[in-house]
């Protein structure tokens, strides 16, 4: 069952341009939503989670329960943002984590 959908496999933007990575989910109940990032040759790491409502490295994401979306946004992309981004959800007990197919972001200098 497809629980997390990331429609864009590849996304390229110019440095300084806004960026939005899309994520939609389907899950019965109230999931928790996350964005993970994987830089080249590094392990997968948490970028942000919706309950913390923090802005990390200039990225924000708003959970829209009506549209079941959790899109990741940044107003001004930087070259160091080039990476693979995964949207993920977990159930209430945190014992299930499901990931999308990922979006590879390239920021063009």
């Amino acid at each position: 069952a497809q629980r997390v959908t990331q429609p864009e496999k590849l996304l390229s933007v110019f440095k300084g341009a806004p960026v939005e990575l899309k994520c939609n989910y389907s899950y019965s109940g109230s999931p928790e939503l996350f964005w993970y990032v994987q830089y080249s040759r590094q392990r997968l790491q948490l970028l942000l989670r919706h309950i913390s409502r923090e802005s990390i490295k200039g990225f924000t994401a708003d959970l829209n329960k009506g549209e079941t979306s959790f899109h990741l946004k940044k107003p001004f992309a930087q070259e160091e943002d080039s990476a693979m981004y995964y949207c993920a959800l977990s159930g209430w007990a945190g014992n299930q984590f499901y990931f999308g197919t990922g979006t590879s972001l390239t920021v063009i200098p």
């Binding site: 990331q6 496999k9 996350f34 392990r43 997968l44 790491q45 948490l46 989670r49 995964y86 993920a88 977990s90 007990a93 945190g94 014992n95 299930q96 984590f97 499901y98 990931f99 999308g100 197919t101 990922g102």
Partner: protein, 111 residues
């Protein structure tokens, strides 16, 4: 600093071999996971465990088994490796109200 450690970064095995991938976490997390990561397919859940000796199938368990004899250790077993199991394997752990923490990954090549 939290740690999830996978025993090998790279492995090359022959078709038909039994393969063990080991993962250890030092955060006293109840939950542990095994994923495989393939280009264009993202992370697909193979198995997860929410307690010692407990295991649940994920989305792609065929050809794999797991073992969790101690809380800190979660092993992935390929009973008879095949070339279509060539992939990057990621281990993760979590607790209630935490995110999932990942290991560095094991790149397995089956020849």
């Amino acid at each position: 600093d939290v740690k999830v450690t996978q025993s090998s970064r790279y492995l090359v095995k022959r078709t038909g071999e039994k393969v063990f991938l080991e993962c250890v976490q030092d955060m006293d997390h109840e939950n542990m996971f095994w994923y495989r990561q393939d280009p264009g397919l993202g992370l697909r859940l193979i198995y997860f465990s929410y307690d010692v000796k407990m295991k649940e199938k994920g989305d792609i368990p065929e050809g794999y088994s797991v073992s969790r004899e101690k809380k800190e250790r979660f092993s992935l077993i390929l009973e008879s490796a095949s070339t279509n199991q060539t992939s990057m394997y990621l281990c993760a752990s979590s607790s209630r109200n935490t995110e999932a923490f990942f290991g560095q990954g094991t790149r397995l090549t089956v020849v």
